[in-house]
Structure formats: structure tokens, C-alpha cells
């Protein structure tokens, strides 16, 4: 009778419940490990889900709010379109109301209290970059479509009396109304003046009131449309027309009528389209993060599998007893699944708490997109979605049950014929004959699935393929392990190795099927480690090389990143060119090109591109082709080419500058900055189509002998308005980009750590159970003269052998999964490709660490079985 029997049992409890609990109490360490593994998976999954959901809800709410009751939103990217379109749309019989909107995001540089003069030299400068989205609206027309945008003169609280000339404020040329969140963000109040950067000048606007209808958390300003056009140098330009259809007009007819009167390139989007566009912007990012979190849950499931295998292995005589006493297979399966279910529920509840806490902390620290930049201008508060909570808890329980299912089913098949024998350990273990066919079939199916295309922009078949690869590798492990160990045993026979070595190899080759199956957690965890390691390394390496190619100049200059109102004037460009030390200046303009109402607009990048050598400025994929005479050469990025199915040498018609232009796809280039696509075009070509193109960035090449710091110093001295310009060296941009990259992928390092722990727990679980069952074997060995040190060495070598096989199979499976991630899942999710870069040193170190730690774990787990005179104190736990 083991010492654990002396623990006081639960008095009066139901025997069946007590049987379930006894399985958990017999090995609390293992139970705790399973609970933690499930909790980590559920916590990560739920945390990421809640963060994304919160941010997306807020953003969708903002989109809905801005559209109001309009049926359509007509828009055409950052450059906008001619305002004459509004009159034509408003006159259509299909249209009941049409409201024009100017939509700009400007950088707020200074703030002045009412007493201060509206002078750029006065007021207080914001130490950090502050952006403000300003909507120029036609108050009287918009009132019919979106009452929540109607401003209120004076403060929202009513503390200040509304100005006597409220109407003048509403239509004022220099007045603006801010939402509560914008006032907080800018630390301003009604009556303050804000200095907004527009080109090379600062425009002062007075905060005349608030926007009481704007939902909390949305930073927004509203002003009269004519004033906005004038203040932001957008005379004659609209960015949007919100349209309410006349009653009874159907969608197709309305779209036809509107399309006939708006310039080319103006998109007709419904509220649903706009929402979908927002969702599409980040869907791949969100889904990939969720899948990564589920991988943690999946590897947790493997730990459940290993521990449950060992648990039923250890209790097989008890299970046989239950069956003998009349429990059916179904009853036995139910009891054991209930045991796994208890662990799953405990892990899920703990994980739910972890997930909510982590999501709250992450949103508070990094915002709704974890710094990814997908949801700008939104400061969400965590909203816990009960359905999501339940879903992830169910997933946790499902992982525990799925992990336990195979061992439980095997336990229910324990042959009862031996159950009445004298000694419980004599109950025969059902021999598990390693089979190749299921594993090979899983691998073959995985191979076929990875050939399938993405569905709704998501690589669902690719994910399934990863899952099958992992399961296939695990299924093949027993057969591979057996083959390797038997060969080693034969080699060992021919060598004059120490006895403990021979015993270790012989033991490994004769190990039970259960032990080899318990390798599953080692294989799964190492495969996850290798796959993540190779994928991240390949991506990072490709991004690094891409950065080097796209940043060929010595200095980069940019005006108010992210704003629509920061640009370099022609005088400033000229001044740059004539600055001593600067050999060449290449300006760059960035616009947007909406191509599909349901997708984010493609970025339009206009820069000098030599049509005879586009590869000098763009990191091309494949060969470029010269454009036929009369056709405009364009260069879609890889994501754009994949999303819109563009090929080199193809002719397309695109709406550029309000007109339909036939273009020639001259080359495709690699771009990791915009996964929704970018179109590069020569700046001069673009200027011919859009005469008023504004340059926001410039690349500077230094003259021989000139230093970057010297040039920057000279510019700061000589260039007017230098304060609004950011000058950066490519090395710093590269460093910042890689830092952002590393932060984005930090979660994968966490996953790798989880995988290592799970792998080692698997080794510990296997060896603690095995070593205990081998007490008599070790006793005989010691009686025959083997020292305890030699037995410890034998255990260590067994740990090394098992971990080495696990690492080898896991490495191969992980390599295959990384290929899938690099060649299938990433291109299908983000529409970009990367070059495979295997971090050999890292992988070999990880494998080495796993092997060494396994050896240590094996000795540690088996120490009780080889300790002198402690038979009575032996514990099966670790």
C-alpha cells in the first residue's frame, strides 16, 4: 500500500465523484500543470479576442456614427474630388438629401488661452505630436442626415454661457467645435485657440463650442465646410458626400445614377461597406494573433494527452476493477472525461480571469491595436463580451477533453481477462503497435490542404494543414522512436560501452508504447518552437533586407506624418536642393486610391522612378517590363498585385486624379508596410494627372564628404519651418522598424517559452511515472552491484535519447510548418512573401537545451525511485 493511501479521504462523498477526484489528487503537480497549460491558452486567446473586439467595436461605432442615417458615403481618398460633383448628386431625383464633407487630419502644434493673441510665436507648443481629425460640414444639409454632428456653441456642461452670436460661431471662418475626447486629448477648453499646421503656415482656430452628440472616446472636430476648405487649402475640393436616397429607390438604380455624375475614382459605399473596410484592415492581423493563441491551447491539449495517458496507465488496474464490478465502457469513459473536464473547467476559469486582466492591462498600456496602428484616434475601454468569454472557456474545456479522449478510449479497452489476477501491476497493458499509415495519411492530407486558396482572405486550409502536420508528426513518433532505439540497441551491442549505457538504450528500445506516445508533448512543443523560430527569423530577415533597399538615401525628411495638411512647398524643396552638402533631393507624395468599397484604400506612392530601371528605387519581385508607348507605367506592391490580381505586362484602367487612365503594370515590388496594397508611380507622371500634388516626404543624398549631422544642422538654421519637419537617418528608421517588429512578435516568444515548459513537463510526466513503475528493476540493478550514480546516468541517457528523438521529429515537423507559414499562410493573410531564413544557431541551441533539460528532468523525476531506503515515501508526483 502506498503512503498516499494514508491521506485522509473525503468523508461521505459520492464514491464516483471521489474516484474522479482521486485521479486528480493522486498527482496534484500534473493536475496543476494541465490547469496552467489550459489557463495560458484560454487567457491568451481570450485576452487577444477581447482587445480586438473592444477596438473593433469602438471603431465600427465611430464609422456608424459618422455615416449617421445616410444610405451611401461617396468618397475618393485623401486627394478628394471636385466639389461640383455635389450639386450634380443633390439634383438627382433618386437622392433625397446630399451633404458635402471635407475630412482632414491636421497636426495641432500649439495652444493659446483666450487672452493670448492669435500669433504663431505665442501660445504653448505641444511637446508631442497631436493630431486632430477635422470635418468640414454643411451644417444645414448635414442636419438632415446626422444630427449627432451638430455643434453647440459654448461648453457642453453649460457652465459658460453660449455666445450671443452663436450662429456666427457656427459659420465662422476660424471657429471649430471639439468633441469631449478631443478636448481632453488636447488639454484644451472652449475659448482656447489651436494652432494647426497647414503646409508651411500655422492656422489659428478658436474652440467655439463642443459636439455633445459625439460618443465618448472619439476625438473629432467640426467646422463650417467653406471655412475648412479655405483654412486647409482645399478650395473646391470635397472628400465625401453623404447621401440619403429618396423613398422607394432601389440600390442598383441609385448606384447607376450616382456613378454617372461623380468623377472616376469616387467610391459608393454603404455603412456596411465602411464597417467591412475597417474590419478588413485588421482581419488578418486579428485572426493570426488568435490562431497563435490557439496554438498555446493546442500544445496545452498535448500536455493533457501526455498526463492523461500516464494517469490511466498508472490506474489501469483500478479501471479494470471498475469494469469488473460492472461499469460499462461508456461509464468508464464518462468518469475519466469528467476528470479531464474538471481540469478543463478549472483551467478555463483561471484563463478567463487571466485573459480579462491581461486585456485590460494591454489596452491601458498599448491601446486597442497593441501598437499595430490599425485603430487610430480610438481610446477604448475594455468591454467584456459574455459570448466570447463562454466561447473561450468552452474551447479550454474542449482542449482538455480532446487531449484526454485517446488515452481514455484506450483505457476503456483495457482487457478485463487479467483483471482478477493477483497483483494489480500484472494487469496487461494493451500493446500499442506503432503504425505508420495514420500518420502518413495525416501528412498527405496536410500536403493537399496547403494547396488550397484562402477563403474570405483567411488561410483556413493552411491552418488546418498546420494542425494535421502536427498531428501526423506526433502519430509517426512512436514508430520512428522504435526504429531509432532498436538500431541504437543493435549498435550498442557491438560496442564495449558501460553497462548503464547499454541498459539505457535497451530500455528505450523496449519502452512501452505509452512512453513513446508521451513523447507527443515533446514533439508538439519543439515543432511549435521551430516553426515560430523560422517564421519570425525569415520575416525579420526579409523586412531587414527590404528596409535596406527601400531606404537608399542618406537622410529622410517628412512633414507631420499621418496628417493631411503637412506638405513641403516648392520653395522649400528648392531650398533643400540648394543647401550645401545635399547632392540630390527626391520628393515623395502619398495619396490613397480606393478600388473596392469593402477594402481599405490602396496607398498611392508617387516618387521619381526611372522607367528604364525601376529596381533602383523599388525592391522588385521578378523582372520589370518596359511600358508600351502611350501607356502609363505603374508599379503595384506585392499585396496589391495579389489582392487585385495584377500581373506584370498587364493593362488596367485606374481612376487617377478624377479621370480613368489606362496603365501598364511594369513591375511588382515587395512592400511590408501596407498589407492592403500600395501603387507606386513616377512623381512626374502623377503630377501630369493631378497638377496640385503635394509632396510630404523627401529623400536626401549627401554630397561626397558631407556629414549627415552637418546637413541637419545647416537645415535647422537655414530652412524656414524646419521645426515642423522630421529628419531621420535610414539607420534609425531601420532600428525603429525592427523594434516595432520585435514588439509585434513578442507574443511568439511567449509562445515559445510556453512550448518549452510544456515539452519539459511532458518529459517529467513520462519519467516520473516510468521511474516509479521501475522501482523493482532499479532494486535488482542495485542488488547486482550498480551504483545509484550509474542508475542516475542511465536515466539521464534515457532522457537524452527520448528528447533527441522528440527534437528530431519535432524539428522536422516544425520545419515543414514554418514552410507553410512562410509560403502559404503569410502570403494568404498579408499578401506578401518572404525568403526563408533558418536561424540554425538558435534552433540547435534550443534543441541542445531541451535535451540537456530533459536529461536533468529525467534524473529529477526518477530520483525517488533510486533513493536509498525510501520505498515507503515514494511519490508518483513531481
Amino acid at each position: 500500500m502506498s503512503a498516499r493511501g494514508a491521506r485522509s479521504p473525503r468523508v461521505g462523498a459520492d464514491p464516483l465523484a471521489a474516484f474522479i477526484l482521486s485521479g486528480l489528487r493522486a498527482a496534484p503537480g500534473r493536475a496543476l500543470a494541465v490547469v496552467l497549460a489550459i489557463a495560458i491558452g484560454v487567457g491568451m486567446g481570450l485576452g487577444i479576442y477581447l482587445i480586438n473586439r473592444t477596438a473593433l467595436d469602438e471603431f465600427s461605432g465611430a464609422v456608424q456614427f459618422l455615416i449617421g442615417e445616410a444610405d451611401y458615403e461617396l468618397h475618393a481618398g485623401r486627394d478628394g474630388f471636385d466639389e461640383s460633383a455635389w450639386a450634380r448628386v443633390a439634383r438627382l431625383p433618386e437622392v433625397a438629401a446630399a451633404a458635402p464633407v471635407v475630412d482632414v487630419t491636421a497636426r495641432v502644434e500649439r495652444k493659446a488661452r483666450p487672452a493670448g493673441a492669435a500669433d504663431a510665436s505665442q501660445g504653448e507648443a505641444y511637446p508631442e505630436r497631436r493630431m486632430l481629425r477635422v470635418l468640414g460640414i454643411d451644417l444645414f444639409r448635414l442636419a438632415r442626415l446626422n444630427t449627432r454632428l451638430i455643434p453647440m456653441a459654448g461648453s457642453a456642461s453649460g457652465a459658460a454661457e453660449p455666445s450671443r452670436d452663436s450662429l456666427a460661431d457656427l459659420l465662422g471662418a476660424d471657429t471649430v467645435f471639439l468633441s469631449a475626447a478631443a478636448l481632453v486629448e488636447l488639454d484644451a477648453q472652449v475659448g482656447d485657440r489651436l494652432g494647426l499646421r497647414v503646409g508651411d503656415s500655422l492656422r489659428w482656430l478658436r474652440i467655439a463650442g463642443t459636439l455633445p452628440g459625439v460618443p465618448a472616446g472619439q476625438r473629432l472636430a467640426v467646422m463650417d465646410i467653406a471655412a475648412a476648405q479655405w483654412q486647409f487649402d482645399r478650395l473646391g475640393v470635397l472628400h465625401r458626400i453623404d447621401v440619403k436616397l429618396a423613398q422607394g429607390v432601389d440600390d442598383a438604380r441609385a448606384r447607376r445614377a450616382i456613378a454617372a455624375v461623380v468623377p472616376a475614382g469616387v467610391d459608393i459605399a454603404t455603412a456596411q461597406d465602411a464597417e467591412r473596410r475597417t474590419s478588413n484592415l485588421s482581419v488578418a492581423y486579428r485572426v493570426n494573433l488568435n490562431v497563435l493563441a490557439l496554438v498555446a491551447l493546442f500544445t496545452g491539449g498535448f500536455l493533457v494527452y501526455s498526463t492523461q495517458s500516464l494517469s490511466v496507465h498508472r490506474r489501469r488496474s483500478q479501471l479494470a476493477l471498475l469494469r469488473t464490478l460492472g461499469a460499462t465502457r461508456a461509464m468508464t469513459v464518462s468518469l475519466l472525461l469528467a476528470e479531464a473536464g474538471v481540469l478543463g473547467v478549472a483551467g478555463s476559469l483561471l484563463g478567463a480571469m487571466l485573459g480579462v486582466a491581461a486585456a485590460a492591462a494591454a489596452i491601458a498600456r498599448f491601446g486597442g491595436d497593441l501598437g499595430g496602428g490599425f485603430f487610430p484616434g480610438i481610446a477604448p475601454e475594455l468591454s467584456v463580451d459574455p459570448a466570447g468569454l463562454v466561447l473561450f472557456c468552452l474551447l479550454g474545456v474542449a482542449a482538455a477533453l480532446a487531449g484526454a479522449l485517446l488515452p481514455v478510449l484506450a483505457a476503456a479497452r483495457v482487457p478485463l481477462a487479467g483483471a482478477l489476477r493477483a497483483q494489480p501491476q500484472d494487469v496487461a497493458e494493451r500493446a500499442i503497435r506503432p503504425r505508420l499509415v495514420p500518420g502518413l495519411a495525416l501528412l498527405a492530407t496536410a500536403g493537399l490542404l496547403c494547396l488550397l486558396p484562402a477563403r474570405d482572405g483567411l488561410p483556413l486550409a493552411g491552418y488546418a494543414s498546420v494542425l494535421l502536420l502536427l498531428l501526423g508528426g506526433v502519430a509517426l513518433t512512436p514508430a520512428i522512436g522504435r526504429a531509432v532505439f532498436i538500431r541504437l540497441d543493435r549498435i550498442g551491442d557491438r560496442l564495449d560501452a558501460p553497462a548503464w549505457m547499454g541498459l539505457a538504450v535497451a530500455r528505450a528500445s523496449a519502452s512501452s508504447g505509452m512512453t513513446r506516445l508521451a513523447l507527443a508533448s515533446v514533439v508538439a512543443s519543439f515543432a511549435v518552437m521551430v516553426a515560430m523560430g523560422i517564421m519570425v527569423s525569415s520575416f525579420r530577415d526579409s523586412v531587414d533586407r527590404w528596409l535596406v533597399t527601400v531606404l537608399p538615401a542618406d537622410l529622410y525628411l517628412r512633414t507631420a506624418a499621418g496628417s493631411d495638411t503637412g506638405w513641403l512647398t516648392s520653395d522649400e524643396l528648392e531650398a533643400l536642393r540648394s543647401t550645401p552638402g545635399i547632392a540630390r533631393v527626391e520628393p515623395l507624395a502619398v495619396g490613397t486610391l480606393p478600388l473596392d468599397a469593402r477594402r481599405p484604400a490602396v496607398a498611392l506612392v508617387a516618387r521619381p522612378i526611372d522607367a528604364t530601371d525601376p529596381g533602383a528605387r523599388l525592391p522588385l519581385i521578378g523582372q520589370a517590363r518596359p511600358a508600351p508607348p502611350g501607356l502609363l507605367p505603374v508599379y503595384p506592391s506585392e499585396p496589391m498585385a495579389r489582392i487585385y490580381r495584377m500581373e506584370v505586362g498587364e493593362r488596367r484602367t485606374l481612376a487617377l486624379g478624377g479621370q480613368s487612365v489606362e496603365v501598364f503594370v511594369a513591375a511588382i515590388w515587395r512592400d511590408y508596410a501596407r498589407h492592403y496594397g500600395a501603387l507606386a508611380i513616377d512623381l512626374e507622371d502623377y503630377r501630369r494627372l493631378v497638377p496640385g500634388v503635394r509632396v510630404s516626404d523627401a529623400a536626401l543624398w549627401l554630397a561626397p564628404g558631407a556629414s549627415a549631422s552637418g546637413v541637419v544642422e545647416r537645415l535647422s538654421r537655414d530652412l524656414p519651418g524646419f521645426s515642423r519637419i522630421e529628419v531621420t537617418e535610414p539607420g534609425i528608421i531601420r532600428e525603429q522598424s525592427l523594434r516595432i517588429f520585435d514588439r509585434s512578435f513578442a507574443i511568439t516568444y511567449l509562445l515559445e517559452a510556453v512550448a518549452v515548459i510544456i515539452g519539459l513537463l511532458g518529459v517529467a510526466a513520462t519519467f516520473s511515472a516510468e521511474a516509479l513503475a521501475r522501482r523493482r528493476e532499479f532494486g535488482v540493478q542495485r542488488a547486482l552491484g550498480m551504483t545509484r550514480g550509474a542508475i542516475a546516468s542511465q536515466l539521464a541517457l534515457e532522457g537524452v535519447l527520448f528528447a533527441a528523438v522528440g527534437a528530431a521529429v519535432g524539428g522536422a515537423v516544425g520545419g515543414a510548418i514554418s514552410l507553410l507559414l512562410v509560403e502559404v499562410i503569410n502570403p494568404q493573410s498579408f499578401h506578401w512573401s518572404m525568403d526563408l531564413a533558418v536561424p540554425w544557431a538558435l534552433l540547435v541551441s534550443l534543441a541542445g537545451a531541451l535535451v540537456v533539460l530533459s536529461a536533468g528532468t529525467a534524473v529529477l523525476a526518477g530520483r525517488a525511485a533510486i533513493a536509498p531506503g525510501t520505498v515507503g515515501a515514494l511519490r508518483e508526483d513531481w
Binding site: 479521504p9 468523508v11 461521505g12 459520492d14 464514491p15 464516483l16 482521486s22 460499462t328 465502457r329 482478477l420
Partner: protein, 251 residues
């Protein structure tokens, strides 16, 4: 003496001339020409042509050398294993015709088990161990636990239901196992070397209890044992050999 009986399952067709015979007393358990082989690649005959009738309330002992198939014979009687030849008929029903669930139901409702190694679940109290068959049979937990206390009292362990298995002596463990075997009032108790792990004094106590309780409740019992002392308490004793089952004097 070679023990053979007519197959009661194949009764003669009643003759219209002769008066109808009195209805036979149906055996609780009957083995008819039962044979068993072991091993897959090179099967070896363990025993063959075993005929045995177990009537309600009788106590039978089966003795034999190690490896002669005593435990296998018990497995066949419990429906845990299937014969390669012949029939095992329990309560008039051929066990070969029972599905897995039906066989399990038969065991939990009509058979009790006593093992050499006791097979008490170490993390359950004595009461929980004894109540287990009742719970498996679907009895409510409270009633099952109360009945387990009664059963423990019947084997001389009153008021000890809350104790842990680990504190028991061998003799006490086997008493608990006996309480478990009888708690659901089975028709048959199958005992596999019930005294094999006990000292002579404890063994005598357990055997006396087994005899007394089975008789008191009218429960049939088949016990396999090495011990001729144990076999001596049986109504009838048999020796199992490769050539079959031979009845020997119980004393």
C-alpha cells in the same frame, strides 16, 4: 472422478405417451463443454470440455496448480472473457449472446468479486469502496452509502466507514472487499484466491465470514484457491487440470 453432467440446456422433447417430466431446477450458472486456449501465434490448450453446474446458495471451490487456468475459468464465469468452445449459461442466458453493456449490467447487478490483492481503491474511504457497486448500478448516493455501512457491519467492521484503506490490516482489507462483493445482494460471488495474501488466522476469519454471509443471503460462491484449507469450507470441491474438472472431496 471425472465430473460430467447432462446438458440441461438441451432438454429432451416431451413424449406424448409418457407423462411430462417435472420441470428441472434451473442452475444459476452452468458451464457446458467449455474450452479455452491461450496465446495468439502458437495457441496452447488451457482446458477443454469443462462441465459445471452452480446452484443458488452453494459454495464451490476449485483448486489447481499455478497456470492451470483457475482465474481464466472465473473470468469466463463473469463474462470477462469468452470461451473458445462451449457455453457459459448464467440464469438461463448464454453469456456469449450478451453485448458489452449487458455483460457489464450482469456483473454489477448479479455478481460480486473478491480478489487476492483486495483491489480496494486507495483514495476512497471504506464506505465509498463498499458503496461503489451500488453507485455503478445507479443507486442514489445517500442510500448507497447507508447500505455500505450496513454491509461493513455485517463483516465485522461497524462504524469504520470513514476510515482510509491504508490503515487496514490484510484481513480487514479482505473483509471490506467481501462487504463490497455482497453489498448489492448478488446471486453469485466469484472469489479469486481470497486468502492468498493473508496469514492463517486472518484467512480462517475471512473464510468463515465468506461461508456465513453467502449462506445467510443464499448467495452462490465459486472460489479458486491453492489452499486445501480454504477448499475445505466448500460444499463441493473440484480440481482443475488440462484434462478438465474433477470433483474431489471437500475436506
Amino acid at each position: 472422478m471425472r465430473h460430467r453432467r447432462a446438458r440441461s440446456a438441451t432438454l429432451p422433447v416431451p413424449s406424448p405417451i409418457l407423462p411430462a417430466p417435472a420441470p428441472p431446477v434451473t442452475a444459476l450458472l452452468e458451464l457446458v463443454r467449455v474450452g479455452k486456449r491461450v496465446g495468439h501465434s502458437r495457441p496452447r490448450r488451457l482446458f477443454t470440455a469443462i462441465d459445471l453446474r452452480v446452484d443458488a446458495g452453494s459454495l464451490l471451490a476449485i483448486v489447481g496448480e499455478s497456470g492451470c487456468g483457475k482465474s481464466t475459468l472465473l473470468n469466463l464465469m463473469a463474462g470477462l472473457d469468452r470461451p473458445d468452445e462451449g457455453q457459459v449459461v448464467f440464469g438461463g442466458e448464454d453469456l456469449a449472446g450478451l453485448g458489452e453493456a449487458q455483460a457489464a449490467r450482469l456483473r454489477r447487478e448479479r455478481i460480486g468479486f473478491v480478489f487476492q490483492a483486495f483491489h480496494l481503491l486507495p483514495h476512497l474511504t471504506l464506505r465509498q469502496n463498499v458503496a461503489l457497486p451500488l453507485r455503478l448500478a445507479g443507486s442514489p448516493s445517500r442510500a448507497a452509502l447507508a447500505r455500505a455501512d450496513e454491509s461493513l457491519a455485517e463483516v465485522g467492521l461497524p462504524g469504520r466507514g470513514d476510515e482510509a484503506v491504508a490503515v487496514l490490516s490484510g484481513g480487514e482489507s479482505q473483509r471490506v472487499a467481501l462487504a463490497r462483493a455482497l453489498v448489492h445482494r448478488p446471486a453469485l460471488v466469484l472469489a479469486d484466491e481470497p486468502t492468498g495474501n493473508l496469514d492463517p488466522e486472518s484467512a480462517a476469519g475471512v473464510l468463515a465470514l465468506l461461508r456465513e454471509r453467502t449462506r445467510e443471503h443464499g448467495v452462490a460462491c465459486v472460489m479458486v484457491t491453492h489452499s486445501t484449507t480454504a477448499a475445505a469450507i466448500a460444499d463441493r470441491a473440484f480440481r482443475l487440470g488440462h484434462d478438465g474438472l474433477t470433483e474431489v472431496a471437500a475436506t
